[in-house]
Amino acid sequence: MLSRVANSIYWMSRYLERAENVARFIGVNLNLSLDMPGEYGEQWGPLVNITGDGEFFTKRYGETTRENVLHFLTFDRDNPNSILSCVRHARENARSVREIISSEMWEQANHFYLMVKDAAANKSSLENPHDFYQNVKTESHLFDGITEATMSHGEAWHFLQMGELLERADKTSRILDVKYFILLPDQHVLGAAIDNIQWSALLKSASALEMYRKHSKQITPSKVAEFLLLNKDFPRSVQSCLRRATNSLRAITGSQQDDFSNVIERRLGKLLADLNYTQIDEIISCGLHEFLDGLQTRLNKIDDAIFESYFTLRPLTGRSAT
């Protein structure tokens, strides 16, 4: 398939997954602040740090009030990672590959965008933020379902999967970071009961609470981290995302298991092996935040390699006809 098309499909699904996950971040924070004892107040600053846009935010908005942060992450056209921007980019990408994807997928991408655009134009849409962010998740899930059911699982679909799964792996790791940032100021002040509630809220934001319960009865920080990072069955865990991304990559390259034919396979394979053979205790004792940071950096390097290997094909110099 065309390199440009592969690029667009990859980014279409990445952007949609990103929009969904921004809604999840905000969801976790809305939940956390509801459950937070009054004296600790609401903490919105950490959210902008997690998405890596802290500096940009400060320049534009200054104070990290709830209103500012919600607007920045949701409807700000100048923030390339806001939900509106992501959905708009995704839909532009979908439009540019309309002949490759099913018309149902395009219509859903279009519908998703129109929903967010209309909400952005409507001042009261964040009065009940839970509804709006729930809608964002639902639209994104619809797209995933329609994709699964209407698009051939060929090369284009595998690029789409890679985009979605790598983005999800990155964002699941950042959802874990929300808790880290929020806990940081007063680690010892909060009682165990509050802590428990917060971890539940976090699991809920990753749609993981029920599945976690089936896995372990008690909510403990290390078990939650283990579930979201290393669990092999939960579809939003980092391990699961990377394993399936690896499968899609192999379907594209045709490489055998435990072998690699390009730098993406090498980097992704190494990262997956690390996750497969690491225990949560090691991660916690070395520092969860540091681990997550490293994970995110390695994911970025994988993305760079995908770009280099597939999206920029240059003719060999000297061979081009005059």
Partner: protein, 478 residues
């Protein structure tokens, strides 16, 4: 109260659906009966549903200027236009003859130029035209076909006679609306559609693909066909991607293609892949910066060389613009006679060439009655509709014509035929035209249908979408 045509007034125009007496024309009987039988408000609800469907399907075009909400659906009217079988038979015959002659004209103009040597057309008029491409002289195009896809604009005068208003042999657009309008109408008026025995247009993409494959260089069992688009910001992008999708071929941009080892290749995730046929939706000027405009970033450097060597086919061939030059258009009767020895079946609208001194004087004296058009403009730009113009506009055009007479032609203001359009809660007559599409491959095929464009503004004669026009489904009866 259900909607009916009791108060509908044809106002002394030829109406495609309703006779002056108020009774429907024979072919429209079923449709009109069906619409009048719908219960209160139903037709309005169906119109709205059709518009919503188009919006959600993203069948939109981009309006430049403001930031968000820049997309609009191409306005669409729910009442189809009906073409009776005998009228269609005449149109089809006329169009086939025309395309046949125009193709021979193109081949001649870029080779021996016999028609110029025999002084049928002034050589100077052709050779001085900006749409004449010296780069194409001597070009042997695949299978001798230059104009593979043509859209010809037809109008109908008060007496019911059809005329050709202009030929579009470059990259005519709009066929996607023909297909989408049909999809929507099948859903909104299914019973009338079925009972009226309407001819199908749905196999257009398959026929287009066949036409394109026919052009591939020899000995290629399954040629790779692509659609070349300027990109998603082009106003016709929807159509480009629609056609690629319907044909099941790649939609490429200039940067996806590269000339290497004497062939055209596309950049794919598994390396370079050879391309055999390009349905290009980019103007001649931009397809190859080495051959045409050097500043083009939309095209493929070196493409024309590969084309000249017969290693890739282009549809339409570069240089076809000379055949739809509005001054050349006036010579169509002579062109048909010269190459085919036949009288032209479908007449042109009588046209005054401003380059001719006598005719120019007549045009300048009658600017308030005539329609003046720039010979190299399209889309309803650079145009003066005399009876609807102000004195200042007329003075301005008089100046333009004197300055560059070669650039202008003038035609009498015809009473374009009309068809009923749903306006709020009733029907009103609006002027329309018809653009059928013609494919030239193994043989010449006219799609039984076409794009009916409507001037939605009351009394307006300009049907172009850039000027407030809309469209209707076109039902050719069998």
């Amino acid at each position: 109260m259900p909607l009916d045509f009791k108060l509908y007034d044809t106002e002394n125009f030829y109406d495609e659906l309703i006779q002056p007496s108020g009774a429907p024309r024979p072919g429209a009987k079923i449709l009109v009966g069906r619409i009048e039988a719908l219960h209160d408000g139903e037709i309005i609800a169906r119109q709205k549903a059709a518009e919503a469907a188009m919006y959600n399907m993203g069948i939109t075009f981009t309006v430049y200027g403001n930031d968000e909400s820049t997309e609009k659906i191409f306005p669409f009217d729910i009442v189809p236009r009906i073409v009776e079988a005998k009228d269609w038979e005449y149109i089809e015959r006329g169009l086939k003859q025309r395309i046949h002659a125009l193709n021979m004209f193109l081949d001649d103009i870029y080779h021996k130029q016999k028609i110029l040597k025999d002084k049928i057309i002034p050589a100077d008029m052709i050779l001085s035209a900006s749409s004449f491409r010296p780069q194409c002289v001597g070009l042997d195009v695949p299978r001798g076909i230059w104009c593979h896809i043509t859209g010809t604009d037809l109008i109908r005068d008060r007496d019911g006679q059809h005329y050709v208003l202009e030929d579009n042999l470059r990259c005519p657009s709009g066929v996607s609306y023909v297909l989408e309008n049909r999809q929507v109408l099948k859903r909104t008026l299914p019973i009338a559609f079925e009972a009226s025995r309407v001819r199908a247009v749905d196999d257009y993409p398959a026929r287009l693909l066949e036409t394109l494959q026919f052009l591939a260089p020899d000995n290629i069992p399954s040629p790779t066909v692509v659609v070349l688009t300027p990109g998603m910001y082009n106003s016709a992008y929807f159509e480009h991607s629609f056609l690629a999708q319907q044909m099941g071929v790649e939609l490429v941009e200039g940067s996806d293609l590269v000339v290497m080892d004497g062939y055209v290749h596309m950049r794919t995730t598994s390396g370079f892949q050879r391309v055999d046929v390009i349905y290009r939706r980019i103007d001649d000027d931009f397809i190859d910066p080495k051959a045409f405009r050097a500043d083009s970033v939309l095209g493929v450097p070196g493409l024309m060389d590969v084309y000249r060597n017969g290693r890739v086919a282009l549809a339409n061939a570069p240089g076809t613009g000379i055949a739809d030059d509005k001054a050349v258009y006036t010579y169509l009767p002579q062109i048909v006679k010269y190459y085919l020895g036949e009288d032209m079946i479908l007449p042109n609208v009588p046209t005054h060439i401003c380059a001719d001194e006598k005719e120019r004087e007549y045009v300048l004296a009658n600017l308030d009655k005539l329609v003046v058009k720039a010979t190299n403009e399209s889309g309803g730009y650079g145009m003066l509709v005399g009876p609807h113009s102000t004195k200042e506009q007329q003075t301005q055009f008089a100046e333009l014509i004197r300055k560059n007479p070669r650039n202008y032609i003038a035609q009498p203001t015809l009473a374009l035929s009309r068809a009923p359009v749903l306006v709020d809660d009733h029907f009103e007559g609006r002027h329309i035209d018809l653009r059928p599409y013609i494919l030239y491959g193994k043989d010449i095929y006219v799609v039984p249908g076409g794009l009916t464009r409507v001037a939605l503004k009351k009394g307006s004669l300009v049907v172009n979408s850039s000027q407030g026009g809309g469209s209707k489904d076109t039902w050719v009866l069998s």
